[in-house]
């Protein structure tokens, strides 16, 4: 049953992706600017403009452009259906190559941030839920409201100023590795993993050190809503009949808490999944502050340059990952909540 469910979800996801591809293809062409102008900056004669327009393929009928993008025109090379996302109009590099460079940075950053945010938020949320209205609960309320409403950009800059410039315990915001450090061979694209695979613990430590501030900034911001969600769900779970029954049965407090936590985690995981998908593109400010060169920065650069192939590629990848995350969430739900069946 589970396999069937997964296949069905993947199939629906592919249809959604295809619809999105078509919609994005047309929508970005409604943007109020002509990407050709960026090419002809120094030389905007009519001939040069026409030449640049031809080079980009923008002189062709829009349906022909779509056919070229999808790769269904005979003799026109590979398109989306053959796995090609096209070539960036800004750099002339394959979009898939550029995304393959940027995506691992964002995934590594987000995964670390969500891991530590969970490690921090779940116990704090539980603590607050044990005695609603108590001092701990009030403190958590203030913190979660405060952290959840803060601009991560500002906190990132503040952390840089304090931890790097003033106290010198963090590295300069120069990316994942210092500029003079040789990167480990690219195997997975994830520097932390590649450094271990290459037997370079020094690089691993350096990368971990460089991730420290951006991850701390994200944890600070993300933990607000997660704590709030865990706390709310825990309060609800602790007040439910099955907890009352467990208490009456004389089960130890820690076991009762674990039962309640399991029930509370299901809706919390939904929030985390949504946040993760959102942050794939939304981590741009953190990436920018710490010069991380991730997917968010790539997306912004592409949008500002009206780089159609890159914009289409980024949206496609973010959507595909989000769909996978949501699928994973549904599966986790089934594990956490025995009432969920497929």
């Amino acid at each position: 049953m589970l396999t069937r469910y997964v296949f069905r979800r993947v199939a629906i996801g592919l249809i959604q992706l295809f619809g999105l591809v078509i919609a994005v293809f047309f929508l970005i062409r409604l943007l109020p600017a002509d990407p050709v102008s960026r090419f002809v900056g120094l030389n905007s004669s009519e001939e040069a403009y026409a030449q640049a327009e031809r080079n980009l393929g923008l002189d062709r009928p829009i349906m022909t452009q779509l056919g070229h993008y999808l790769g269904v025109l005979p003799g026109e090379g590979e398109g989306l259906l053959q796995g090609s996302l096209g070539t960036s109009w800004v750099t002339g590099t394959a979009v898939s190559t550029e995304i393959a460079q940027a995506l691992p940075v964002t995934l590594e950053l987000l995964t670390l941030a969500f891991f530590f945010a969970l490690v921090l938020s779940v116990p704090i949320g539980m603590l607050a839920a044990i005695r609603p209205g108590g001092a701990a609960d009030k403190g958590v309320f203030v913190y979660s409201l405060f952290a959840g409403s803060q601009p991560e950009f500002w906190w990132g800059l503040l952390f840089v100023y304090l931890f790097f410039f003033t106290w010198g315990v963090a590295p300069a915001p120069l990316g994942i590795l210092s500029p003079l450090t040789s990167a480990p061979p690219d195997v997975t694209g994830f520097v932390l993993i590649d450094s271990l695979l290459a037997g370079r613990p020094d690089v691993f430590l350096e990368a971990a050190h460089h991730y420290m501030l951006p991850v701390a900034t994200m944890v600070f911001i993300l933990s607000g809503p997660i704590i709030k969600m865990v706390r709310q769900n825990m309060v609800r779970a602790l007040g439910s009949d099955f907890v009352l029954y467990a208490r009456c049965a004389g089960l130890p407090k820690w076991r009762v808490a674990l039962y309640a936590l399991r029930a509370a985690m299901a809706p919390s995981m939904t929030l985390i999944g949504i946040l993760y998908g959102f942050m794939l593109g939304g981590a741009v400010l953190i990436e920018s502050v710490f010069s991380l060169g991730g997917l968010g920065q790539y997306a912004i650069r592409s949008i500002l340059a009206f780089d159609y192939p890159a914009i289409q590629g980024v949206i496609l990848v973010i959507t595909a990952i989000s769909l996978l995350v949501y699928l994973a969430l549904d599966l986790i739900h089934a594990v956490i909540d025995p009432r969920v069946t497929f």
């Binding site: 990407p35 960026r38 800004v90 002339g92 300069a172 971990a208």
Partner: protein, 556 residues
């Protein structure tokens, strides 16, 4: 906390390794790294891409230098050309032909050796107009090199092939023929868009689908004869240059330069102040100002070719009325902008051409800030106290590039406040850079705007005239305000082919008087180009493309 200390220790070790190499290496922080190294490619218009090109490639000609200015920056002497890859040259006015005697023994990276084939290849590549943005062709056309005409964009394949206009005489002699006398020939050959390629390595990296190696130069390397070689390059992150020890003007003092992208200018400031970087660019005027006097930091500034002007479109009423244009020009609080937006690092602009350029002329017609004069002109135009201008509300949307909000925000606010007091119904309209570029360069429908990004890269008043002010019908290229003046076009047509410098300068002065009288642009300020760097860095030199040449620098 222990983990924190461990991580700090690991990083400190890495930094210690870096410090040990400090005398030989430089960390240069910029807003981006090269997106391409192909000047006929898609990234050619991006300043940081140009920085990559000029450090790896080499021109035929350059300029002599002036002594350092008061902030220690060396400036070019635009009146004196120097041969770079050309050792000596001569011009035959009868045949309009330049004979270039090339330097021998020039070596680039990866075994590249320079000779006449490279020169012919470079022009042939330009004429092929095979790249995304054919700048090589454009510059050759501007210099009146024969047969570099718009015909290359047609269907005739022969028109795209190099002929005897660029001819190899022997291994170290080349002749280049012009179609008409044109004083822009030498200035154009100093521009990055005609720097030399190494033919052999370019051919080695060409493919059947890409015979001019655009893919290679867009993404991997550009074989040439400059002072640096590309050691590694990760787009959107960093590029590392290592010295070309065989560079014919002497091996670079700095052996390795790491150019690193740090998007946030405030982070570039703190990293420079921490001592980890030696050179930064692209800060806001306020940030540069904050670094003046900081321990161990110098700020170099030069009044080069960067300026800010008010754009008024002749095709959009009421800017078709010269009285309204003059009223606007008198409404700009120039000194307030210099003091509050540029922190004193700017001067009032009194022309339409950078004042450092040969041929610049300061006209007798000037437009100082004069609110009463502006009101009088407005009344004379039929809009006393702005009455009736509300009908043109859309035309008075003051457009500017939203990405430059930090720098331009205070300026547009000062302008709009001053203009509203006079009676203009000004509102602000920030739009993205690409949209601005589209409306400015292609659609040419921006009614009213502030522009701080027009730097004529050809160092000559005539080049600026042809680029910005000549009507499209007469060969104008970026006439963004739709200015049409047949008399001025006629003067330029004569000046363009005038071989006598004094006569040409006289005509260019006449043109600049016309431009000021017609307020073609509303010139506001010439602002300084600035860099911040460690005290240990010396030799900084300004070049007209505003890209730093690492070969100029040394670390003490």
């Amino acid at each position: 906390m222990n983990t924190l200390k461990l991580l700090a220790g690991a990083s400190a070790l890495a930094l210690a390794g870096a410090t040990a190499l400090q005398a030989q290496e430089m960390l240069f922080l910029a807003e981006d790294v090269p997106a391409g190294l192909n000047y006929d490619g898609p990234a050619a218009a991006i300043p940081t891409s140009q920085t990559g090109m000029v450090n790896v490639m080499e021109p035929l000609f350059g300029y002599a230098t002036n002594p350092p200015n008061e902030s220690g920056v060396i400036t070019p002497d635009f009146g004196t050309f120097e041969g770079r890859l050309v050792e000596s040259w001569s011009y035959d006015a009868d045949t309009l032909t330049w004979t270039l005697n090339l330097r021998q023994g020039v070596q680039g990276c990866d075994g590249a050796t320079f000779n006449a084939d490279d020169v012919v290849y470079t022009f042939a590549r330009g004429k092929s107009v095979s790249g995304a943005a054919p700048i090589g062709w454009f510059l050759s056309n501007v210099a009146s090199i024969a047969n570099f005409t718009p015909a290359v964009f047609g269907e005739d394949a022969a028109a795209k092939e190099i002929g005897d206009e660029v001819l190899k005489v022997d291994d170290y002699t080349v002749t280049i023929r012009q179609s008409e006398p044109n004083a822009l020939f030498l200035p154009v050959l100093t521009i990055f868009g005609l720097y030399m390629f190494d033919k052999e390595l370019m051919d080695a990296n060409a493919t059947a689908d890409d015979p001019w190696a655009h893919e290679y130069t867009n993404n991997v390397n550009v074989p040439s004869f400059g002072p640096y070689c590309v050691e590694s390059w990760t787009k959107d992150d960093e590029i590392i240059f290592s010295a070309n020890e065989d560079y014919y003007r002497g091996a670079p003092a700095i052996k390795r330069v790491v150019m690193k992208k740090v998007p946030q200018s405030s982070n570039r400031v703190v990293i420079l102040r921490s001592g980890q970087a030696q050179l930064v660019q692209g800060l806001t005027p306020r940030e540069f100002d904050s670094l003046r006097g900081a321990d161990g930091i110098s700020v170099g500034a030069v009044s080069g070719n960067e300026n800010l002007f008010v754009h008024m479109n002749f095709d959009v009423p009421p800017f078709d009325n010269p009285l309204v244009r003059r009223a606007v020009a008198h409404s700009i609080p120039t000194q307030q902008i210099i003091d509050n937006a540029y922190f004193g690092q700017a001067t009032a602009w009194k022309g339409h051409v950078p004042s450092s350029y040969p041929g610049y002329h300061e006209s007798g017609t000037q437009y100082e800030y004069n609110p009463d004069g502006a009101k009088a002109l407005l009344a004379e135009a039929g809009y006393p106290d702005g009455a009736g201008l509300d009908a043109y509300g859309e035309a008075f949307q003051l457009t500017y590039v939203s990405e430059k909000e930090t720098t331009l925000g205070p300026i547009v606010n000062a302008i709009s406040t001053a203009m509203r007091e006079i009676g203009f119904p000004v509102t602000l309209n920030p739009i993205p850079q690409t949209q601005y570029g589209d409306r400015q360069l292609v659609k040419r429908d921006l009614p009213f705007a502030v522009n701080d990004q027009e730097k004529p890269i050809g160092v000559d008043a005539g080049y600026a005239t042809q680029l910005f002010f000549v009507s499209p019908e007469s060969g104008g290229l970026n006439n963004m305000v739709n200015y049409r003046n047949a008399d001025m076009d006629a003067i330029w047509a004569k000046a363009r082919v005038e071989p006598d410098t004094a006569m040409r300068d006289g005509m260019l002065a006449e043109i600049q008087d016309v431009l000021m009288n017609d307020v073609v642009w509303g010139p506001v300020v010439e602002y300084n180009t600035q860099w911040a760097f460690s005290d240990s860095v010396t030799g900084l030199q300004w070049h007209a493309d505003n890209s730093v040449r690492f070969h100029d620098l040394s670390i003490e």
